[in-house]
Every structure is written in structure tokens, then in C-alpha cells.
Amino acid sequence: MTATTEKKPPAHAAPRPKGIAALKPHTTTLMVVGGVLTLLGSFLPWATFVLNKGPYPAQATLQNFTAPLASSGFRLHLVLFGIAAIVVALVKRIPARHRIARALGYGTIAVSVINGLWITVEGGGLGAITASEGSVAFGAIVALIGGIVLALASRVGDLEPVPEIGWKFNRWVEWLILLVVIVLLLLLVAAVLTSGGFGATATYAGAVFLSFLAALGGFLGALHAAGLLGWVNALFDRHRGYAVILLLVAALCLPLTSAGTEYWMTVATNIGVYAATAIGLNIVVGLAGLLDLGYVAFLGIGAFVAANLSGAAASAVGIHLPFPLVMVIAAVIAGIFGAIVGSPTLRVRGDYLAIVTLAFGEIFVRSAQNNIGGLTGGSNAIPGIPPVEAFGIGFDQALRIGPVSLPRGVLYYFLIVLLVAFVMAVFANLKYSRLGRAWIAIREDEDAARAMGIRTGPVKILAFLIGAMLAGLAGAIFAHKTATVSYESFRFLESVTLLAAVVLGGMGTIPGAVLGASILFILPEKLREFADYRLLLFGIALVLIMRYRPQGLVPDAHRRAELVEEPEPIDTGGDKPTTREAVAP
């Protein structure tokens, strides 16, 4: 969020077609019209008949929506969009009105397109939203037009820069505001997790989820445009320690929200495992700039070590050590392998290093597949790993504390939250330490770093070692949580997914890695309708991210300068980057 304050080159820099420019005095009217159309669209029927898989959510099949106060789901979002647009249009004191209208317009467009498209596809053709047997349902189309009008209005009017809000309050007031923000964040996370539901009853889970995401994006965009997100961000920075503790507590409170069921706890735990691993990878790739294409092997090594020391019947070692000890051993062994994999960095650089790490990853998978030394179970995997136990409670059990009953798997969730917090702390401390600065120096220019007196060899190996240890820790929890460890969980594709999580989130930042891992591991969970297309979309997304937003969703300040462009003095087409550079704060 810090860096999204980058300002786009003003839209009017390019010669605009006269037709749109003529509308300039009427932007307020346009915004009102867009808002009204959006409102109207939300109350019109969206489908002309009950779809094959049952009624579409939010009572979209009604002939006309008659109860404005009872609207829910995507219709509620549209109502909010419409009202917000009208308010923004009429209250001229709001700063950056056009920018807010743009976010609202894009949100409306996305919501109406997603739901309209879904109804069309599920209903078997455009007839589902336009006309069938004498009835009409123009909800999707009207809302879409409303959104387009809003976006158009913002395009015609000048896009203002994002305002910086400088409100400062008493410390206690600011703490209270932060508390409210974080509680809202917690509820939001729970809502995102559970939106659409799961299982056989949740027919339109994918549509509901995507629509919710789109609405969320629109609202957050509007808040950002109004400068509120930037202000909250500044608030976080001012009270960092307090905010971090609050965030941790909030994460531990997730089981108390609507996401507190066994299923969502499992999903959240899996996300946590990959988030912790992604942060570890972020040390290697994001900080030290060493591309590792076989990183998931360390997660695998940690998992197999834990499986073998867990007393599982199928393990070759057959000893049962206490879990904390197992975690330490898993981390140490993964770290040793990390140092081995990292040792070629002494001689190999760049792309070649990526290939070396890929080769190590493949060697690991092949060896695990062939049950090397009887340690990995081969294609039979290692099943039946007993759950972690502490104070006589198995971690796979439900928990009851007084009146509060928590679902099964909640203890693993707590464990992984603590692990992620630990990994974040390690990352944050390392990043600003002498070692972290050495990594960043190596990333920027290895020869220059060496000239500055950094012993590049040990420093690079340390990056691999620490990254691998963190992955090994995550692997130990992963083994106990899933109870079965198979080589199939650690294939090349998983490494690519982890790398994509780091890249998508933003290299070298903590929220980036967590956000990236969450997105990449929650989307397949939610979009089961597209299970077949999952990897196809993933591949295309990877290409598009690199093309349009290589710095990721939460870009690192250093990294951004480096990844956005590399001025090419001879290339005559190089004017565009310089404009962006000049505009960047």
C-alpha cells in the first residue's frame, strides 16, 4: 500500500477524442447517472429463470427485487457502490472525487460482468439475462452500463493525485482506531475465506467468491483513492509494535469468527505453511536475489525428517521424538541441505544458478519417488503420522475452553500462526541487519558488493541456509498436519507456485509473500469449477504479472526501482520509463 501512491501520468496528456472531452462540464451529472443506474441494476432481476443448478444467490431470479432493505450478496455490494457514487458526485468537498468514482466504476463493472457472465454460462446462453418466455432481466446490463458511465465520468474529469491525509490524534485515539481497523480486517479475512461456502451445497461458490473479491477491490480502491488507506498505513508505521501485536492477536482470533470450522482451519493452516515457506524463499530470492527453482525440496526435507521421527508405523527410523525437538532437527537438516544446494553459488551466477537449484530440486523429487534409503516411502508415501501432542491434547482434536468451543485443527492453526509470526520476525530483523544489507548489496551488484568488503560466498550460502531452515520448520508442521507425506507434494510445479507467490506479492516484502501465498493457495480452493483450468490460468497469470506488474502487489521500495525498468540509453523507445521514473515519489 505504501507504494501504490504512484501517480499515473495524467490522462489528459494524450490527445483525447473530442466526443468524450465535450462531456467534461458534466462529470457530476455523469457520476450521478452512473450511480443511479448501478442502484437500478441492483434492484432489477438478473436471471429470467431458475438456473439448472438451482436459484442464483441473492435472489437474482425474482421478477423484480422488491425489498431494497433485504438485499444481500452482490446486490448489496452494488447498492453500496451506487450510493457511494451518488454521494461522491454530490458532496464536492470530498477530495479526489474522480479517482474514487473510477474505483467505484471498475468495481461495479467487475461485479456485474462476473455475475452476468456466470448466469449466462450456467443458464445456457444470453437468454438467461436478457429475455426468455416474455420476461426480461436486465439487471446485469443496467449495472454494467452504470459502471461504465462512472468510469467514463472519471476519465473525462481530471484524475486528481491521491490526497495525503495528515490527521493526527491523541495516542489512545489512534490506538483505538487501529484496533477497529484490525478487527475489521479480521472480519474481512473471515468473510473472504467463507464467502460462497464450500462443499456440494455451495453451487455458485466460485461466482460468489469472485464477485466478493471484485467488490472488495472496488471498495478498497475507493478508500485508497480517498487517501484513507494511506492514512491507515501511516498509522501502522507510527505504532508499529502495537499494530504487530494486535495483528497477531487478530490472527489467533480467526477461529472465533465465521471461519471457525474445521474446513477453513485446514485451509488457513495450509496457507500458513506455504506463507511461511514463501517468506523463507523471499530471503533467497527477494533479498539476496538468488533465484531458487527447487525451493520446495526444503519443505519436503523438513516434512520427511519429521515423518521419520514421528513414530509413524511406515517410517524407516521408527523413533518417536518430542515435537519441538523434531522441529529443530528438521530445520537443521533442511539447513544443511540448503548450504549444500547453495554452495554452487560460489562459482555459478544468475540463470545458471537457477538451473542448478532446479537440478537439486529434481534430484530430491526423483530420490524421494524411488524411496531412497527407505526414508521417503516412495509412491506409497509415509502415511499415518501421529498428530502433535502437548499436555495430553492431540493437536487434531477440537478444543473447549469454558463456553468457547473451537473446531478440530484449530491447534495446528495456532501453531502455524506462531510459526508465520516467527518467520516474519526473522525476516524483518534480517532485512535491516548487516547481513540483510549485504544480501541486498549482492542482489544489486555482486562485484560492487565484494569491492565494498562483503564476503559474498559465505553471505550467499547463509541466505540459502536460513531460507532452507525456515522451510524445514514449516515442513515439520506440514507433515503432522496432513498426516501423510508424499513426494508428490514437492514437485517442480510447487516450487514455481512458491516463486510465483513471492513475485506476485512483491519481492523482498513480508506482507507481499503472505498475500501472494494466500492468493495462490486460496484461489484453487475457491474456484473448484475451474479445477481443470487452474494451472493454465496460473501460467498465463505468471506471464501477465511479469508483463504488467513485475514489482508485485506490495512492492519493495528498493526493488521497485530495480524491476520496473532498466533505462536503455540506445533504445529510442525508452522515453516512457523516464516519465514514470520522474513521477515516482
Partner: protein, 308 residues
Amino acid sequence: MSILMSQIVNGLILGSLIGLIALGYTMVYGIIQLINFAHGEVFMVGAYGAVGTATFVLPTAVTTQWWFLLPIMIVIGALVSMVVAILMERFAYRPLRNAPRLAPLITALGVSVALQEAVRVFYPEATAAIPFPSIFIPGALVLPIGDGVPIQYSGILIVVVALVLAFALNTFVEQTRLGRAMRATAQDRDVARLMGINPDRVIVLTFALGGALAGVAGVLYGNFYNFINIDMGFQNGIFAFTAAVLGGIGNIRGAVVGGLAIGLIKSLAGQYLPGGGAYDYVWIFVVLIAVLVFRPQGFFGETERVRA
């Protein structure tokens, strides 16, 4: 003795295929320093394009005559791969030409995943291995060594085609105007531009040539092994990359020799080294690591410092 001989024969056949694919890797890396991870998928797509055409498009009367069907399939395989390679260059790599090096590498991974999945999702029943018609003369030539060493005719075809194509490519690069333009672009793109060469066109040509060779390799692979699957691109692509590195990246002769070496290593390691066939991949990766660490310029590469 005959086991050793037949393993060597197998190795040479596989090695010729890998060499053909490695040519594409080595040319692309030589010219824009990109490890084109998706090149293996280009090889795979060629095989699927050819077998798809033979199954769904060509009339059955045509498909019974090998001397007619085989050239058609090879041409179609080459064309399909070439088109995919050109599109890939145009839409995925060209926009990133001046980006930091990590970006195109990750893009290549994305293209690789997307191509593989596109075939899996859209080609009928491609989730499992699909049969590839055996179109060349069936049977084998038996060498009178020991108990007799059979060499499949389709294997001989692979070796011959690979050597001929590699020789043709080498001649093209060394003796034609376009080949000189390619070498100039590889040495210094900006100076090449000043000399009146359009680097974009040369780069597209490189991708097209590499793609076509991979497509031919795909058809020959299917014809020899009689089945194709969507994983074949990734594995053979990695082998081919190893071969390209082994021979000295950017070096055409090196790629072929490297390919043959990798083929021999795989078949001999599968026979004689501990672990047997289950670990032959592992040995190739061990060789890859060893080469990258100890002799990154390969057998034939110049001893200039490897670009980082």
C-alpha cells in the same frame, strides 16, 4: 557385450533427439541470453499437433502410406512448433526484452506451464499418454555382435535426420547473410542494429528455426517411442538444456555433441550405475550441476567469463 552395444545405440538415438531440441535452446540463449524453459513444451506441442492432424484431419487413405504420411507429419509438427515459438516470442518475451533478467525467466516458466496445461485441457484425452502411430518402416536392423544388437529403423531415421538438420543449420548460420545477422545480433544487439540489421526480425527467426527443429524432434520422438505425453516436454527440455550447456551454450556443434553425451549418460547410467533405471534422471542432473559448477563454458565454449 550386446547389452552395452544396445545401450550405446539407445543412447545415441535419444541423444540425437536431445541434440535437436538443444539446438533451439542454444540459439535462443546465444542471442538473447534467455533460458527458454518453454522450449521443451514447443517440442511437445509439435508432436501433439502432428498426431492431432493425422488423427482428426487427414483422410485414412493417406495415413496408410508412410512415405507420404511421415513427411506430412514432420512438416506439420515443425509448423505447429514454429508458430507457437513465434507467438511466444512476440507476446511473452519481446515486451520484456529490456527488463531485468528475472522477469523473462519467470515468464518462461509461466509460458511452459500454460502450454503444457493448454494441451492437457484442450487436446482430447491428453490427460494420459496417447499413442503415436508408428509410421516409419517397422522392424530393426540387427547388428551381428554377440547375441545381435537390434537397431530400430525409426531410430536410424532419428540419428540421420538430426545430423542432417544440425549440419544444415550450421551451414545456414555460418555461411548465409541471415546467419551472419544472427551471429552479429548475438554478439552485440545494439551494434548489429547500427549495421542495418533488425534485431527483432533476427530474434523471431531464431525462435522460428529452433521451434521448427523441436517440432521435427517431437514427431520423430513419437514415431520412435510410439506414445507421447504432456510431460515429455519438460523432461526432455531439461535434458536438452543440459546438453546445450555441456556443449557450450550458443555453440551449434556443441549442442549436438552435448545431446549425444547426455543420451549416452542416461542409457549407460541406467544400466550400470547404482539405482539402475530409476535413477538415470538423477545422474543427468548430477552431470548438469557438475558441468555448471566446474566448466560452465562447456566443452566447446570459449573461456570468457560466464554472463551472470
